[in-house]
Symmetry: C2
Subunit: 739 residues, 2 copies
């Protein structure tokens, strides 16, 4: 493994297509600094094939790219540029299997039910590929996310649209006041490594061990419980209040990521809202397999098996409910898709910033935006949105042309906190006690529970916390910006964490730094008071706040979180540079296939590769790499300033055109810089050629637009075939090759 190597991931859909055009540019430039970019395939298709590699003939076997990168992350040499990939849902997985089978891979079908050992083995192999399977393997470090200077500068000069806030807005957040995770959290720090048991004690005293958890010394273990009864009471009261106050009702969860607990919460919202329907047809629904956790969509889906008259009756019963309830926020008013249709349609960390950006409004049945009661049951994080809403009512909407920025340092490594809780989350089957018992039989934590309660435990290891504190201090120092640890006395977990933060802060020289610890409400208020004065504040947070805040502030500052620089400094010294956010853009692929126009913006890749070069330059004292990095950043800034990012429609500059401009500006910057005469001399001819040939190249790129494009494969693409589509300018290709 060379330490002059950058591992560039081949993923899925739009980013994968863009790679066919962009990687040749990066590679051509990089080799002048003796840097190699190695493409590593972690696409869904590749991951499927790797899972069944032992069953495939030799010529169809593939390297397990994800496993390779996973091992790499544990070494100090790791330098990975990670593009967005598919977190496969079941429909996506089966589509990919079908495509691979059609391409001649003898893969087994996904077994709906798994009775036999063989079926179980197949299901287990596929399960490893499902959902968020890549990030947990690669994110062997904490998170450093920020808006790069070029992006922030561009956003200030070219502000995104920001809805006006009225002082009379009635929008607000509604959350539980008791019985939520927040009010029930307990937390312990292990004073030695040992295995603890999660147990359920039934009312008859019998004990069921749900799970044995090996814990490290210094590891923090939390447990908490949502009362099913109080949750349902809360939904009912919230609905009645919204009805009385004539305000739209809008549920915000994160059922994708909190994939065990939030679908259950979502299901309760569905059955409370439509309680008339579920009371009447509950038994029938059970028979035909309706799962309210999958939303109202599941009802519409499953009743298709019923006689038409009965379907109609149920549909009418559903319609009748609407008149008894407050108006429900819509995901797609044209198609009648409400907030309660599909659990993954409204994802709190994206939906709440969008609401705040849209004057505090959600979309109504009439296709218009209305003030809304945003329902976020658990109070732990709900309150930060209410604080933001109050702030906007009081101070007006944020002004992207002047506002400061809130970078984040997030505790993420080794599945810290709630994001590692899925395998320790239980929907309680009967009244009793959930408890955690240590190796000596001492009860560390316990909760009295009722049937239907949602109990969970969360782990946070010590090493990631120590690294996170270090990263917070480092970022505060490097950017000369105040840093706030978001920790609050009301949370047991935070109190355990705080002890470690205070301890590990002592390991660093914090002279002259402004490092504070604040509860969430105060921290966000402090950050917002500063942001409207144009001042920056680093948020140093746990995993969920990391996730939420790196959507909230970027969306308010930049209009999107896709333009953030997202760095994972690995615990073992390597680095991963993530690009973009918001998925792998299937709609973009569709447009490419129909119109040979790819509107994917590779800005994230430009930014990530620059940091990747810089880091490699520092580690290997490779001065040329540093110059490449600096010039790449300048080129990106110029590309933004001259508006050469992809536009949305045929006729404009698309993804490929933006790559050309990046290459031209980059070459120009390299030719013009004076730090490295050799590089300047090397790139001067390329700069001249690209500058001279700009019109020709742009014309060649434009020529292909408007017709259908043929891609051999969707999930399992053939890069050579894709390159034919994605590199249509002979002049540009030749110029790059001449380097």
């Amino acid at each position: 493994m060379s330490n002059q190597t950058i591992y560039y991931t081949l993923t899925d859909e739009a980013p994968a297509l863009a790679t066919a055009s962009l990687l040749p540019v990066f590679s051509a430039f990089a080799k002048e600094a003796d840097i190699e970019l190695k493409l590593t395939d972690i696409s869904l298709a590749s991951r499927i094939l790797a899972s069944f590699s032992d069953l495939l003939p030799a010529d169809q076997k593939v390297e397990d790219g994800l496993q390779f990168l996973g091992e790499l992350t544990l070494t100090p040499e790791a330098n990975i540029v990670k593009l967005p990939n598919i977190s496969a849902s079941l429909p996506q997985l089966t589509a990919a299997i079908k495509e691979l089978q059609a391409q001649g891979y003898a893969l087994p079908d996904y077994p709906e039910s798994a009775e036999t050992a063989e079926a179980k083995d197949i299901q287990a192999r596929y399960a490893k590929v499902l959902g968020s399977a890549v990030n947990p393997v690669l994110r062997q470090g904490n998170s450093d996310r920020r808006a790069p200077a070029a992006v922030k500068g561009f956003a200030r000069k070219n502000p995104h649209s920001m809805g006006k806030w009225k002082k009379t807005s009635v929008s607000h957040v509604d959350h539980m006041r008791s019985g939520d995770f927040y009010s029930t959290e307990q937390s312990v720090t292990m004073d030695s490594a040992q295995t603890v048991n999660i147990e359920f004690v039934a009312q008859d005293g019998s004990v069921e061990v749900k799970k044995s958890l090996p814990l490290l010394e210094g590891e923090i273990l939390d447990s908490m419980n949502i009362s099913c009864a109080k949750l349902r009471e809360f939904f009912e009261a919230s609905l009645q209040e919204a009805k009385e106050d004539n305000i739209m009702w809008s549920l915000h969860l994160k059922a994708t990521m909190m994939k065990v607990s939030h679908p259950i919460v979502f299901g309760h919202a569905v059955t409370v809202f439509f309680k008339d329907v579920f009371e009447k047809y509950g038994e029938l629904f059970k028979e035909i397999g309706v799962n309210p956790n999958n939303g109202l969509g599941s009802v519409y889906d499953k009743i298709k098996s019923l006689p038409e008259a009965q379907q109609e009756e149920i549909k009418q019963a559903i319609q009748a409910v609407y008149s008894t309830r407050p108006e429900l926020a819509m995901v797609d008013s044209d198609k009648g898709i409400t907030n309660l249709h599909v659990p993954s349609d409204v994802i709190v960390d994206a939906s709440m910033p969008a609401m705040i950006r849209n004057s505090g409004k959600m979309w109504g049945r009439d296709g218009k935006a209305h003030d809304a009661k945003a329902v976020i049951p658990d109070r732990t994080y709900a309150r930060i949105y209410q604080e933001t809403i109050n702030f906007c009512k009081t101070n007006g909407e944020f002004d992207p042309t002047t506002m400061g920025t809130v970078p984040n340092v997030g505790l993420m490594a080794q599945k810290a906190q709630e994001y590692g809780s899925h395998d320790k989350t239980y929907e309680v089957a009967a009244a009793g006690t959930m408890r955690v018992v240590d190796a000596q039989g001492n009860v560390l934590m316990e909760h009295a529970v009722e049937k239907g309660d949602i109990w969970r435990a969360c782990q946070t290891k010590d090493a990631p916390i120590r690294d996170w504190v270090k990263l917070g201090v480092t970022r505060a120092r490097q950017s000369n910006t105040p840093a706030v640890f978001w920790l609050e006395e009301e949370r047991s977990h935070d109190n355990e964490l705080r002890k470690k933060v205070e301890l590990y802060l002592q390991e660093h020289d914090t002279t002259g730094l402004d490092i504070r610890i604040m509860p969430y409400n105060e921290a966000i208020r402090f950050s917002m008071e500063r942001i409207i004065r144009g001042e920056d504040t680093i948020s140093v947070t746990g995993n969920i706040l990391r996730d939420y805040l790196t959507d909230l502030f970027p969306i308010l500052e930049l209009g999107t979180s896709a333009k953030m620089l997202s760095i994972v400094p690995m615990l073992n010294g390597g680095g991963m540079y993530e690009t973009g956010a918001g998925g792998s853009a299937p709609k973009h692929v569709q447009q490419l296939m129909e119109e040979n126009y790819l509107r994917w913006d590779s800005l994230g890749e430009f930014l990530a590769v620059a940091v990747s070069f810089e880091e490699l330059g520092i580690k290997n004292s490779n001065e040329k790499a540093k110059v490449l990095a600096e010039c790449l950043d300048k080129a990106t800034g110029k590309l933004l300033d001259t508006n050469k990012s992809p536009s949305r429609k045929v006729g404009g500059i698309d993804n490929r055109g933006s790559h050309f401009y990046l290459a031209m500006y980059w070459a120009q910057e390299l030719a013009a810089q004076t730090s490295d005469a050799e590089l300047a001399a090397k790139f001067a001819p390329l700069a001249k050629t690209l500058t001279d040939q700009e019109t020709t190249i742009v014309a060649e790129l434009a020529e292909v637009q408007g017709k259908a494009a043929n891609l051999a494969g969707y999930y399992n693409i053939n890069l050579e075939e894709v390159a034919k589509v994605m590199r249509p300018s002979a002049t540009f290709n030749q110029a790059l090759a001449s380097l």
Copy 2:
């Protein structure tokens, strides 16, 4: 002057009448501890007579009680119980003069205009009596205000009504975002004693010295300016926004206390709201003497001199304005009195807490309560109400049965801060520069000003600040409660003050105390977050926040600010114990005259006298005084618990009845206590008599109710005559006399 003497003030109206009944009780009990209560007359009538004492015959001359007490406040022996007095408006003053003339005092009339030297002298003498003339003389110390334990305990058990807050309330505060005092404040601390000049520099360079100010070393001097143009723009924009958002518009100022600046601000609100009328009739209004600073009432008053047809035309023009403007909050919807009729009708420190207590609503034209835009132009203090409103929207209304308390330590001595600015406040006559120049000719501060701007300077002496810091620490220690100094970096004045606070805090042992410095928004939020958890927080504030917060929190906690203990520990070691708040209750006097029923509640006097006894006991090692104090507090608590406070209507226990019960409980407590056997023995017979005779005494007191009562004089009462009315129970009088 004996240091065993308490000076009990004779004031005006209801409290003066109550004194005729209550003072004999206090005196009878006090003499057992060798304490004398001396009545000192500072009533409006007495102050008028004292002002003209040199012109009156010997038998009509009166002692100048206010001057006497003023001198007393400068001695460590001062122990003054100060009841509410009339802050005379001109109509009240002329009525008092008339009454005195009728009683045979040869006083001159108040001269409307003063041309001659004699008239000027008369006017000057009366001017000293007008307005808030007593407090500035007596308040030779800072302020310590809190809800006594008995009162707080009673309020928790017997909560006042508190309006529910809706999360969808649209009520909010609107304030200027620039051009207000807040944004223009400058501040300097004098490094030596010297006289500075306030100067106006005209555009032609000519300099007018407006005032010479002798300043002490260490004194803080501020200057600030409200832009007239920006103020008027703000009003117009605020009105248009309210119209657009269909919300009621409600102006909140403190024209009584900020008697120079706020009437001008009020006048601008009137002429902007009714700009159509003032544009059309402006010249005419000038001719007939309309002063918009006196409100719309002034228009209705002055147009009476015009022909009826013209009056009608103007009235119609006024009516026509209403349809072009948002609905205006009403002071009295039955009588059509709006928020803009009279500048003293809506006083921010009382009106905003009332609005917050009333679900965030003000009264509309329809006699119903509606959400409102509360307009408080200057941002300096406006923001605390917005913070409170946001808090109530988010957390619901406060719960008087569980909420904590926010006592106040206020910087008040020697006319600190804005409350001493009246003689240094100017409505600027022409564009130019207002500046402060030191003895060496250096410009300390300056503001570019336009015609109509309101410029002012404020002084804050060093000694009061030092004492205030000490009082803050003392109260934090004595009550073991966190104390927050409300100071913010955004204000120049506060930055000067903060230096002194940090310096003077070092003079005290603050070990184990929780003393913080916070900006206003944070401080009130911190206090409110604690208050809903039942926790107490001392607010250590400047003069205006003292005034505002000692209405806001008491009204939310207790339903009134009249039940607060209000202590002025004098700079020179004495103490003043102020009772009640909210004026001297002329309506109560009216009820007494019509129905011989006085509903005035002497609770404030009970509380103040107890502290007065206690202080005297400590200073003179008078153990009996301490026992009297303790037992008086217990008696007050019992009186509250047994609901023996005055009720509002004939047939209940009135002021006199409550005095009887206080005496009975007090005697019982004294007889039962074991600290001082002599006192117990002394009071046992009285306790027995009063307990035995309860029915008789209550009957005697009830018997007089319902008929008209004759008081000889309203302003200049005759205490002996009043005593005949106020002490109708022979049994009770005899029991007291037997002590």
